[in-house]
């Protein structure tokens, strides 16, 4: 569906025209039906990558193919691609209905009214159909963006900060729409700073940092990236197993964490000292923690190599 090889994009900036690398050799392959979250700090290269996928940015080097073709502005392959831009760059002089008709007809949708009505209903936008886009709030423009990118039932959805400006109800509705589309076979690539959203939607996460791919895997595999620990609680006692890190005595319990390597020793001690084990659960890192740690590792590696 998406295939990049050594994708590089650099810009000249400043009065010295020094070269800034927005993408430094991105190798990525997204297969049909996947839902991929593209994560990274500001300036990591997420939007640049999306720009390359859409033919809006010409790579300095490397190759990019979408649906087997090299993307270029206005290419026929966009008949099968839906794009939600980061900024609400829609035609302000049109009403919501006119804008959707304009965009939909360009995509080859014959009956735009019929195609857009259910989407507008689900996003609670139907009553604003005749409002000028320029008078829409940020969230309404985002909803317009969502409808325009789903209108033609695309095979590939490229979403740049999709939840931006949406209220919680709209976030939920959009999440359902995306899940439905993905179940129906649509490939989704979404760039976002909202790691919780990505965690809920994407099965695969790609992390970019300073234009480089620093992690690529399933959400489960990335959250295992950090060494997991076990949260344990035992009934209050005067002495507790030394395997417990950071023990805190509270409400008749002693709580703390145990490293996986020390788990067997901890159980032996509990058994030997006849302590009452109240709970023991694996504490999994959230995507946010995994993200911070992966990017941190990547930067430390960069410093030590550099």
């Amino acid at each position: 569906m998406i295939h990049t090889e050594g994708l590089r994009v650099s810009y000249r900036a400043g009065w010295r025209r020094s070269r800034l690398e927005a993408l430094a050799g991105l190798d990525l392959r997204v297969e049909a039906g996947e839902c991929v979250g593209l994560l990274g700090h500001n300036g990591a290269g997420k939007s640049t990558a999306l720009g390359c996928f859409l033919g809006l940015i010409r790579p300095t080097a490397g190759r990019v193919a979408i649906l087997g073709q090299t993307p270029a502005a206005g290419a026929e392959l966009f008949r099968h691609v839906g794009y939600l831009p980061e900024e609400p760059v829609y035609h302000g002089h049109l009403t919501v209905r006119e804008a959707l008709t304009y965009y939909g007809r360009l995509q080859g949708v014959v009956d735009v009214e019929a195609a857009s009505a259910p989407l507008l209903e689900r996003l609670d936008m139907a009553r604003w159909r005749d409002l000028m886009v320029s008078r829409c709030s940020k969230g309404m423009k985002q909803k317009l963006g969502i409808v325009q990118c789903l209108l033609h039932a695309p095979r590939l959805l490229l979403l740049d900060e999709p939840m931006r400006g949406l209220d919680p109800v709209a976030v939920m509705a959009f999440r359902e729409l995306l899940a439905d589309a993905n179940r129906a076979g649509t490939t989704i690539v979404m760039s976002s700073h909202l790691l919780g959203e990505v965690e809920q939607l994407a099965r695969r996460v790609v992390i970019l940092d300073r234009g480089r791919l620093v992690a690529d895997g399933t959400v489960a595999s990335l959250t295992r990236h950090r060494e997991a620990r076990y949260d344990v609680a035992i009934a209050a006692t005067e002495t507790w197993p030394p395997e417990i890190d950071g023990p805190v005595a509270v409400d008749g319990e002693v709580r703390g964490t145990v490293a996986p390597a020390a788990l067997h020793g901890f159980f032996d001690r509990v058994r030997a000292d006849r302590l009452t084990l109240i709970s023991c659960a694996l504490e999994r890192a959230s995507l946010e923690e995994a993200y911070m740690s992966i990017v941190g590792d990547a930067r430390r590696g960069e410093v030590s190599h550099g």
């Binding site: 500001n42 859409l54 760059v89 049109l94 360009l106």
Partner: protein, 270 residues
């Protein structure tokens, strides 16, 4: 292709219709025109009616020309600034089609303005009992071709420069200013003044003047039509030549604007 061209064109026409800037400029020009034209409607003898009608027609032609001239620049700049082209370029349909629609929409407005002017002139000629001369229609059609030239030039400048800078460039670097400059340089050379500076500047001025499109390439040949509003066989030939010239300028400007748009980035780059 035809449907996509029409979709873009219809969007641009809505943009003009709903733009407060276009409305404001239009009303301003109309107010100025009314102030200068109103005395003509309330005074004058039957004998001077023809001259009055000619004056009204000339003013209407200028009004239409002025209103439509900068539309291509305006719509191009507006779409480039708010990046709405992102939405268009990520849909099927070549960017050249969008660019063509800018030219077509502005030209449609120019043609409509001149058509309105021609109808008003015809109505006045009937009301005042002045025989309608075909020269009025001729001048209106000629004005559409002239408008096409200025629309093409300004749209191209709008694809490269900030709209205000584009307007300044169009005001400074036009056929009229360089014709005066050329005349001045040639005059100084003929008089033996100026020295090395004139010798150095002269080829440059001639080159730019030759390269710049003329707004009315056959003005001197068709001056009699503007005076008498009578058209003979040769004048139609000049009108056809003006049409061909404006088409050539439009094609060149279109290609330049296309190159300028291709070099632009339409994406956010973080």
């Amino acid at each position: 292709m035809g449907e996509r061209l029409w979709l873009h064109t219809a969007s641009h026409l809505r943009f003009y219709r709903r733009s407060r800037i276009v409305l404001g400029v239009g009303l301003g020009i109309l107010a100025l025109w009314s102030l200068t034209m109103l005395p003509l409607f309330f005074g004058g003898s039957a004998a001077s009616r023809f001259n009055q009608l000619r004056g009204v027609a000339a003013q209407l032609t200028s009004l239409g020309w002025l209103l439509s001239a900068a539309l291509g620049l305006y719509v191009t700049s507006a779409h480039l600034r708010n990046r709405s082209l992102q939405v268009i370029l990520t849909r099927p349909g070549s960017p050249q089609l969008w660019l063509a629609s800018v030219f077509v929409s502005a030209l449609m407005v120019a043609a409509a303005m001149q058509a309105i002017g021609a109808v008003v002139t015809l109505a006045l000629s009937l009301a005042w009992g002045v025989p309608y001369q075909i020269g009025f229609a001729y001048m209106a059609v000629d004005a559409v071709f002239e408008a096409a030239i200025i629309i093409a030039m300004l749209t191209t400048l709008g694809a490269v420069l900030h709209p205000v800078v584009a307007l300044l460039v169009a005001l400074l670097f036009n056929d009229g200013t360089f014709a005066s400059l050329r005349f001045g340089v040639e005059f100084m050379k003929a008089q033996g003044h100026g020295g090395w500076f004139t010798d150095a500047v002269r080829p440059l001025v001639i080159a730019i003047h030759t390269a710049l499109p003329m707004l009315d390439p056959f003005e001197s040949r068709t001056a009699s039509v503007a005076q008498s509003m009578r058209v003979d066989g040769g004048d139609w030939g000049y009108l056809a030549a003006t049409a061909a010239y404006s088409l050539a300028v439009t094609v060149v400007c279109f290609l330049l604007a296309d190159v300028a748009l291709r070099r632009r980035s339409f994406a956010t780059t973080t």
